[in-house]
């Protein structure tokens, strides 16, 4: 009997609480929608109010404007007349300088003393070259002769010497053979000597004569070779001196050329310097033609600061407006929240009382308990 009562009341309490909660939620949702609409309106107001409005600057050089979308219209351009004036001035100056330098170069090229000196040096150089070539030729010839196959020359000398000796040697050999025959030793040949010992002695004598002639021929050939080598050396030395003189001449010519080149280089350096100066002037002139634009831009910078200040005030007012709107909405939410909280607490306590709680002895409190106890008594 008590469970049934208990449940019955419990369900009734719960139904009552749900109903109260749904009602509070509906009220809060409505208030939220209202606040959303208010805040959207507030945002639109802030957006509209904070937009850039643009500004303009007007000077003697021109009228410059900055649009609300940030676009800039300088209203002032490059002053080409300035550049043209400078170009005219540079052309005149460069032409004059070039003419002067060219005249200087012409004067250098046409220097008669230098030309004559160079010619004389060329003549002298050629003569020295010819002499040097001749000396070198002679030196080479003697060198070649000194480097000839000494064996051939030695052989030639030897042949000449032996040709002179040959009749004597032949006579000596014939006499020896006659002696050999007279001694009864003709026709004898032994392994030790090829013939007889006398034949060998004659052969040795001939060989010695040949050896002497050979050594003499070698010495003569060596002397000739030395002589030719000395001549080659002398001619080579002369050729070397010619080469040195020619080298000196070439050095002088080279110095002359170097000096001429230095002058030419100087001329070109002057020309380059003049060009640089003209270029600098042109550059300066180029810079000057942008001066009006620079001045206009500086004015625009000044105007920009003013525009910034105006924009700042606009944005500050919008800040205040949105802050106030947001604060009101927050206050409203907080008040609704408190009210709902109070109602919730109320429902909660009511329900707790209708249902009661079970104690240790199994009994219930509250309305349930009450009813239980009633029932128990009745029961």
């Amino acid at each position: 009997m008590s469970d049934w009562v208990n449940n019955l009341f419990g369900a009734a309490g719960q139904i009552g609480s749900v109903y109260g909660a749904l009602d509070s939620a509906n009220k809060i949702e409505d208030m939220g929608n209202t606040m959303y609409n208010n805040l959207t309106q507030l945002g639109n107001t802030a957006n509209t109010g904070s937009q850039f409005n643009g500004y303009g600057v007007t000077s003697t050089m021109g009228n410059s404007t900055i649009g609300s979308d940030g676009s800039v219209n300088m209203g002032v351009g490059v002053d080409g007349s300035v550049n043209q004036n400078y170009q005219n001035m540079m052309g005149t100056g460069y032409g004059g300088a070039s003419d002067g330098l060219n005249r200087l170069g012409q004067q250098n090229a046409a220097n008669p003393w230098m030309i004559q000196g160079a010619q004389q040096m060329a003549y002298a150089n050629k003569g020295m070259a010819d002499q040097m070539a001749a000396n070198y030729g002679a030196a080479n010839q003697f060198r070649d002769q000194s480097m000839q196959d000494m064996g051939q020359r030695t052989q030639d000398i030897y042949n000449q010497a032996m040709a002179v000796q040959q009749p004597g040697l032949d006579r000596a050999q014939a006499a020896q053979q006659a002696r050999e025959y007279a001694m009864g030793r003709g026709g004898v040949r032994g392994s030790q000597f090829g013939g007889t010992a006398e034949d060998a002695a004659m052969a040795r004598a001939r060989a010695e004569a040949g050896n002497q002639a050979s050594f003499a021929a070698i010495q003569q050939a060596q002397a000739e070779q030395l002589q030719q080598a000395n001549l080659a050396q002398a001619y080579g030395q002369s050729g070397l001196q010619g080469a040195e003189m020619r080298n000196q001449s070439a050095n002088m010519l080279s110095d002359l050329g170097v000096k001429q080149k230095q002058m030419t280089d100087q001329r070109y350096a002057n020309m380059a310097q003049l060009g640089n100066q003209m270029s600098q002037i042109g550059l300066d002139a180029n810079k000057l033609q942008y001066l009006p634009m620079q001045m206009q831009m500086e004015l625009m910078q000044l105007a920009g600061a003013d525009a910034d200040r105006s924009q700042t005030g606009q944005l500050t007012g919008l800040g205040y407006l949105t802050q106030m709107g947001l604060g009101g909405a927050e206050v409203n939410v907080n008040a609704s929240n408190v009210a709902n909280q109070a109602r919730a607490n109320l429902y909660d306590s009511i329900l707790d009382n209708m249902g009661g709680n079970s104690n240790a002895e199994g009994g219930s409190s509250g309305i349930v308990g009450l009813l239980e106890s009633i029932l128990k008594r009745e029961g």
Binding site: Y181, M183, G184, R185, G186, G187, V188, R189, G190, S191, Q192, F193, G194, G195, T196, A197, E198
Partner: protein, 617 residues
């Protein structure tokens, strides 16, 4: 009638044969005939020694119905040991040291030069070599000492009938070998060595020539064989090969190449430590001589000789022939000279010792013309002289040298007319041999089987050597072999007789010792006839002699009568036998024929009892 006169001929023919006497000369010292005789040691005419059989056994391969002649012999000196040789070792199966060549003599007998005799020891040399049993066996190890050449061929039958039918057609049964008589017709020459009593064939040596145009030259311990156109060969104790096959052989050469690959000459000599050869390549104007004691090294004329010590060389003698041209016939050495014989010239060189081409070397001492050598075998050295056969006879080189261009030395002057004819008819075959131990030089005419024996030593009273004539000389060559026991005079037998020994007095066929005197004229008057009555022969003979007395008047000894000997009453071998004579004439000549059958016979004296007849008016 006048009384008997006695004519005595002491030592008849004691001066030898003299064919140059006229029949009217009464020099009884000379003989007009002295066949198979010699002059003995006391100047008597005596029978020569026999050509006795000595070595008849052989393994010489001869043709059927043929035989062999020993045509040449040479010997090396006998040593008790085998000295180091220049020759390579023999390729014998058992080496020289352990087994000798004599080991297979079959009967275990000691090897001997020419004889077979029992060895005194238990172990003889045949079985065990000297190296093992030296001193105990008391054996003498002997090398092959004698080397020679034999000519083999068929017998030339002397029977005309047999010749007509020929041996080949009618076989041995019908015409036996004994019927094939005559001389061997040489078809081949082959070497041999005397080995233990037989002739051992040396088949490796087969020269093209033997009887002529060949020479055997003993040199060092080998025998060199030179034959015309054949490579020189040598024989050393069983080893026989070409000189050019010796490992150290160096042919004559110069920078133009080899002059002669082979020493193929046939004129050769060994002297002064070298071999001297001519006829190389058919050139008989040149003599090649070997290196000193190195018979394999010859002339090396290259600029850089293979052997710097080589002293071999060449002698070209063309420019020294005194008569413009000649041909080398022989080379000899005598008394320090080198003698080069031409056909009609003699070149005498000194300084052949040492290096002939060196200073003080070979030098022509003399060139003699119109005296020469008939062939290379017709000369011999007798120690004190060198004899050679010229067309004029046997000449003495010593005397030629002494007398130079007027050579009068003529040992054969006692038989000059006779021997000159023989020489002219037998120029290529005549030989002159020195029988050293007999002190004789024998000039042999092999084709005639005839020889003249010159007694060396004291010459005859005419100045020529005492000479006798030998018949039945069935031999070609004679050498003297000096052994430890004796000096053997060996002869190269013909008709398969083998090697003969000149010794004793017994030949297979008895020979006749003959004598004929010159004219005897006891009255000294050729106008008075002589009537010989008896003749007594006093002779010395060990046994019975078969003596026949000969006498006659003039050129022919037409009377002959057997001499009857008295019965010998004593052991005395000195005998006198008498024979009665008959006939008469003006020029009495006497003589005898003594058939020698084993004993020597020396004629001491012939005595004649004669009566002088009437004077021819």
């Amino acid at each position: 009638m006048q009384p008997l006169q006695q004519v005595s001929i002491p030592a008849p023919g004691g001066q030898g044969l003299n064919t140059e006497l006229t029949p009217f000369q009464t020099q009884t010292e000379f003989a007009l005939r002295a066949d198979n005789a010699v002059v003995d040691r006391i100047g008597r005419l005596a029978s020569r020694e026999a050509f006795a059989d000595y070595i008849t056994d052989s393994d010489i391969q001869t043709p059927a119905y043929g035989g062999y002649d020993v045509v040449r012999m040479a010997s090396v000196e006998v040593d008790d040991w085998i000295p180091p040789s220049h020759a390579p070792l023999t390729a014998a199966e058992y080496g020289e040291a352990e087994y000798l060549l004599s080991e297979w003599n079959g009967d275990g007998l000691t090897r001997s030069l020419v004889q077979v005799e029992k060895d005194p020891s238990e172990y003889n040399a045949a079985e065990y070599g000297e190296s093992e049993y030296m001193g105990e066996s008391n054996t003498t190890r002997v090398r092959d000492v004698v080397f020679g050449l034999v000519a083999t061929g068929s017998f030339e039958s002397a029977d005309a009938n047999k010749n007509g039918y020929g041996l080949s057609e009618y076989g041995e049964g019908e015409y036996s070998l004994a019927g094939a008589v005559g001389s061997v017709k040489p078809t081949e020459y082959v070497g041999f060595a005397i080995d233990s009593g037989r002739l051992r064939q040396v088949s490796n040596i087969r020269p093209s020539h033997g009887r002529t145009n060949a020479q055997l030259v003993p040199y060092k311990d080998s025998v060199f064989v030179f034959s015309k156109g054949d490579p020189a060969m040598f024989y050393y104790n069983g080893l026989a090969e070409k000189v050019s096959e010796h490992p150290d052989y160096s042919p004559p050469q110069d920078d133009n190449g080899v002059i002669a690959q082979e020493l193929d000459g046939d004129i050769a000599c060994a002297a002064y430590g070298r071999l001297w050869v001519s006829g190389v390549g058919g050139n008989y104007d040149t003599v090649y001589y070997s290196d000193l004691l190195v018979p394999y090294q010859w002339y090396d004329g290259k600029a850089t000789p293979d052997d710097a010590q080589n002293t071999a060389g060449i002698i070209d003698v063309r420019e020294y022939w005194p008569s413009g041209n000649d041909k080398i016939q022989g080379i000899a050495a005598h008394n320090g000279y080198l003698i080069i014989f031409g056909r009609h010239s003699i070149l005498i060189y000194s300084g052949a010792q040492g290096d002939p081409a060196g200073e003080g070397g070979l030098k022509l001492e003399d060139a003699i013309r119109d005296v020469g050598l008939v062939n290379q075998d017709a000369m011999c050295n007798i120690g004190s002289d060198h004899l050679f056969v010229d067309s004029l006879g046997v000449r003495s080189l010593g005397r030629v040298i002494q007398e130079k261009s007027t050579p009068l030395g003529e040992p054969s002057m006692n038989v000059s007319s006779t021997i000159r004819r023989l020489i002219a008819e037998n120029r290529d075959t005549v030989r002159l041999t020195h029988l050293k131990s007999k002190s004789m030089a024998v000039c042999l005419f092999p084709e005639l089987e005839l020889a003249y024996a010159f007694q060396l030593g004291q010459p005859s009273m005419s100045g020529g050597y005492r000479v006798t004539r030998w018949t039945d000389c069935d031999w070609y060559d004679g050498i003297t072999v000096r052994t430890n026991r004796e000096d053997l005079t060996l002869l190269g037998g013909r008709n398969s007789r083998g090697v003969l020994q000149y010794g004793g007095y017994k030949q297979p066929n008895p020979y006749t010792f003959s004598y004929e005197s010159a004219v005897l004229n006891p009255g000294g008057n050729l106008m008075q006839s002589i009537v010989p009555k008896t003749m007594s022969y006093s002779f010395e003979c060990d046994g019975d002699s078969d003596l026949t007395a000969l006498w006659g008047f003039g050129a022919d000894l037409r009377y002959d009568r057997k001499v009857r000997h008295k019965a010998s009453s004593s052991s005395d071998n000195f005998k006198t036998s008498r024979v009665s004579l008959n006939g008469s004439g003006e020029m009495l000549r006497v003589g005898f024929d003594a058939v020698i059958t084993g004993e020597e016979l020396s004629m001491q004296q012939i005595s004649i009892n004669t009566m002088m007849g009437r004077t021819i008016l």
